[in-house]
Subunit: 198 residues, 2 copies
Amino acid sequence: MSLPSNAEANRRDEVLRVAAQLFARKGFHATTTRDIAEAAGMRSGSPFYHFRSKQEMLKTAIIEGVAAGQLRIEAALAGCIDPEQRLRTLIRTHLGNLLESGCDVPLLLYEWQALDASERTEVACATDRYQQVWQDTLDQLVAARRIPQGHATRLWLFGMLNWSSQWYRPDGGCSLDQLANEAADLLLRPSAAPSPPP
Amino acid sequence: MSLPSNAEANRRDEVLRVAAQLFARKGFHATTTRDIAEAAGMRSGSPFYHFRSKQEMLKTAIIEGVAAGQLRIEAALAGCIDPEQRLRTLIRTHLGNLLESGCDVPLLLYEWQALDASERTEVACATDRYQQVWQDTLDQLVAARRIPQGHATRLWLFGMLNWSSQWYRPDGGCSLDQLANEAADLLLRPSAAPSPPP
DNA sequence: CCTACCGATCGGTAGG
DNA sequence: CCTACCGATCGGTAGG
């Protein structure tokens, strides 16, 4: 038995990176393993030295993308206590995870349908963790009457944000900071006056 | 020259219907023309008697799906004046367009990427019309201070609603009426008191 | 990681 | 609309 060498691991990461970007841009089924090989500077059979199958590339890309996004969220949230500020930070960071170039492994939101049942279960574990901190923050804001109650609020919110990958263009003259604040303003009610009514 | 017979047109509609449903459920690239033929009770080459290519089936399905949804929206909105009520009706009807079974030709939100440039232009004409009535209603609600200003409000709203196709399950114990009202409540501020402050 | 290749499947067509 | 078929391409593998 031998552990993978550093060089080998780096090549594997490179394959994963280009695969994830192609999956994000063209979709899983519209991307061929030959596309991936070419983008990684390899011959057509070589990606299969690193991954058993195209589906395994997808599963790994989804899970690593979510994990990387989760790390960025935890870092951005460090030391942030106020629920409104936490929500704004979550929204801004999530938009970055979705839209900002330089994401080595982008979030792949729509491609999980190409996975089979057991792979979906693995992916669900990663996404459940990603959503937990959102739910906690939303619960606090409901308690503070900054947003209305509702079963689906977290899902509505993810929808708002995730759909931006269908329309956002970096050259559109609207920064992610602006967009993030606009989205938060759409959800948040003004905070109640500090003194109660007579 | 001969016009298509009724029987021929009916078969074409049947091909389109099953193609649209397969595209919606599995995605364009994961659906084969043989899947479509089988679902329509034909042999593998026969769909091409009605459509020049698989892409033409997709383009037609998208445009007809949007047009059918548009008709349902116009019918539901007839005689409805109040902006809040109009928004609630738009949301409820759009969720029906997305999620309700019995949609012969469902809305295909994500598959337009498989089209080429000229086909996308045709699709854009149909979707622009679909969005116009939404924008008008949102503008009225901004003027009435029921929702905050923002460049992207219509896009946030469509995101909220469209993402529901990723998580909504009809047996989940939540009706579309409930969901629609919850979504509207998330957006709408309470209307201002009728008398102005001193 | 490359060379060389395989079996399967795909979109699409000719001819009737 | 069916039969019969084609050329291209696909995911994946054996052997080195």
